[in-house]
C-alpha cells in the first residue's frame, strides 16, 4: 500500500478530522513505510492500516454526528430556581423588631421610618445580587465521577478528591457531603440529575453516615449576625430613652465587632492599612457615643 493510496483512503474520514490530522497521519504512514521494509513488514503495515481504518472511520463519523454530551452531573434549572428561593434571610423581621424598639424608645418617627426604608432597600438590593450570584454558581456546578475520584467543576471552586483522600461521606438534608481528611469537602445536592447513581457510587467506596442536622434547623454564621444587628444602629442613634438606648447600642456594637472581624478575615490587607469600610464603621461608633452623651446630659 503506497502513500498515494493511503492519502486517498484518508478521504474516508470526516473533513474536520482530515483538516486537523490528515497531514500528521500521512506523515506517520510515511515514517512507518520508510522504517518497515521487506515484504513481511509491508504486509503487516497494510493490514494494520486497513484494520485501523475499519475501526476509526466509523468512530470519527459518530463523534462528529453526536451532539455534545454533558460530561458530568449537573443541577437542572428548575432545581436551581427552587434552591435559591428557599434560602431567605430573616433580615426583614429583624428590621421590624429594631424599628419597633426605636418607636417605643421615642425616636422621631419620620427619620426612623426613612432610615428603615433606606435599609430595606439596601437589603433587597443585596439579596437580589446574592440570589443572582447563587443561581449562577449553582448552574455552573458540575460533578464528575471516576472509578476512584470525585471532581467538582465550578469556576473558582474546582476540586478533585481521590478515593483514598475521602475520610467520610455524610448524608444531610440537602444531599451528601464528601469530606476529605483535611476538611475539604464536595457537596452532592439531592436535586442533582442522577443523584441516586452518585449515591450508589459513593456507597461502594464506604458506608454513608448520617450527619446531625444543626440544632435550630439552620446555622447562624457571624456574617448573618452582622446583617441582623446592623439595623440597630438607626434606632441607637435616633432613640431618646436611655433604657432603650443601652440594649440597642450593645446589639449594634456586637454587630460592628462581627463586621470588622469578617472584613479582616476576608481582606487580610486591612490589618496593615485601614480601608474605607473600617473608617466608616469607626465614624458610626463615634456617632453612637455622641448620642449616648447627649442622652446623659438630658
Amino acid at each position: 500500500m503506497s502513500e498515494k493510496i493511503y492519502a486517498w483512503l484518508l478521504r474516508l474520514y470526516p473533513r474536520a478530522f482530515r483538516e486537523e490530522y490528515g497531514a500528521a497521519s500521512q506523515q506517520l504512514f510515511r515514517d512507518r513505510w520508510n522504517a518497515e521494509r521487506g515484504l513481511r513488514a509491508r504486509c503487516r503495515l497494510g493490514l494494520d492500516v486497513v484494520a485501523d481504518l475499519a475501526l476509526t472511520v466509523p468512530r470519527e463519523h459518530r463523534r462528529r454526528a453526536r451532539p455534545p454530551q454533558p460530561a458530568g452531573y449537573r443541577l437542572p434549572e428548575e432545581a436551581v430556581a427552587a434552591m435559591v428561593t428557599r434560602g431567605r434571610l430573616s433580615a426583614y423581621p429583624a428590621l421590624l423588631l429594631f424599628f419597633a424598639m426605636g418607636w417605643l424608645g421615642g425616636a422621631p418617627h419620620l427619620p426612623l421610618l426613612a432610615g428603615y426604608l433606606l435599609l430595606a432597600l439596601a437589603f433587597t438590593a443585596a439579596f437580589v445580587r446574592r440570589r443572582i450570584g447563587s443561581k449562577r454558581r449553582l448552574l455552573s456546578l458540575e460533578l464528575i465521577l471516576g472509578p476512584d475520584r470525585i471532581e467538582r467543576r465550578q469556576p473558582g471552586f474546582d476540586l478533585t478528591l481521590r478515593r483514598n483522600e475521602v475520610a467520610r461521606v455524610s448524608e444531610v438534608d440537602q444531599g451528601l457531603i464528601v469530606w476529605a481528611s483535611d476538611r475539604r469537602m464536595i457537596w452532592v445536592p439531592s436535586r442533582l440529575n442522577g443523584f441516586e447513581e452518585v449515591r450508589d457510587h459513593l456507597a461502594a467506596w464506604m458506608p454513608i453516615g448520617r450527619e446531625d442536622p444543626p440544632r435550630h434547623g439552620f446555622r447562624i454564621k457571624p456574617r448573618h449576625a452582622y446583617f441582623l444587628l446592623f439595623p440597630a444602629y438607626v434606632s441607637a442613634v435616633l432613640v431618646r430613652s436611655l433604657s432603650w438606648y443601652l440594649p440597642l447600642a450593645l446589639l449594634s456594637g456586637a454587630g460592628l465587632l462581627v463586621m470588622v472581624r469578617q472584613a479582616m478575615r476576608q481582606r487580610p490587607g486591612l490589618r496593615r492599612k485601614p480601608a474605607p469600610v473600617v473608617i466608616l464603621l469607626a465614624l458610626l461608633a463615634v456617632l453612637i457615643l455622641k448620642a449616648a452623651i447627649m442622652l446623659r446630659v438630658k
Binding site: Y13, F17, E20, Y21, A23, A24, S25, Q26, Q27, L28, F29, R30, D31, R32, D48, V49, A51, D52, L53, L55, T56, V57, R59, E60, R63, Q69, P70, A71, G72, Y73, I144, L145, G146, P147, D148, R149, T160, R162, N193, G194, E197
Partner: protein, 116 residues
Amino acid sequence: MPKTKLDPLPSAAFHILVVLADEDLHGYGIMRAVAAQTGGKVRLGPGTLYGSIKTLLEGRLIEELGERPDSGQGAERRRYYRLTSAGRKLVRSEAERLAAMVRLARAKRFLRGAYV
C-alpha cells in the same frame, strides 16, 4: 450515567499517556514508544493514534507544543505533545485501578508466578 469519553480510560489513551510521561513526543515517536513498551503487541494506527490524541487534547490531559524540537525531514508536519498535570494524575489513578484488579485476579488465583 453521564460519562466522559475517558471514563473508563481506553487502552490506547492509557498507552499514549504513559509514553508521554517520560518525554515530549510526536505521533510517530508515540507509536514507536508504545510498540516498544508493549513488546510490539500494540501498534497504534494513524486513526487510532490521532483519534485518541484528539480526545486527550479535549480532556486537557495532554497539550500540543508550539515549538518543533526536531528539525529533520517532515518536521513541519510533526506535532509534538506533552503530558499535563491532569494527565499525570489520571495515569496514576488508572494504574492504581489496574493494580487493584491484578491483586484481585491474584487473590482469585487467576494469575500465578512472578511475571505480573
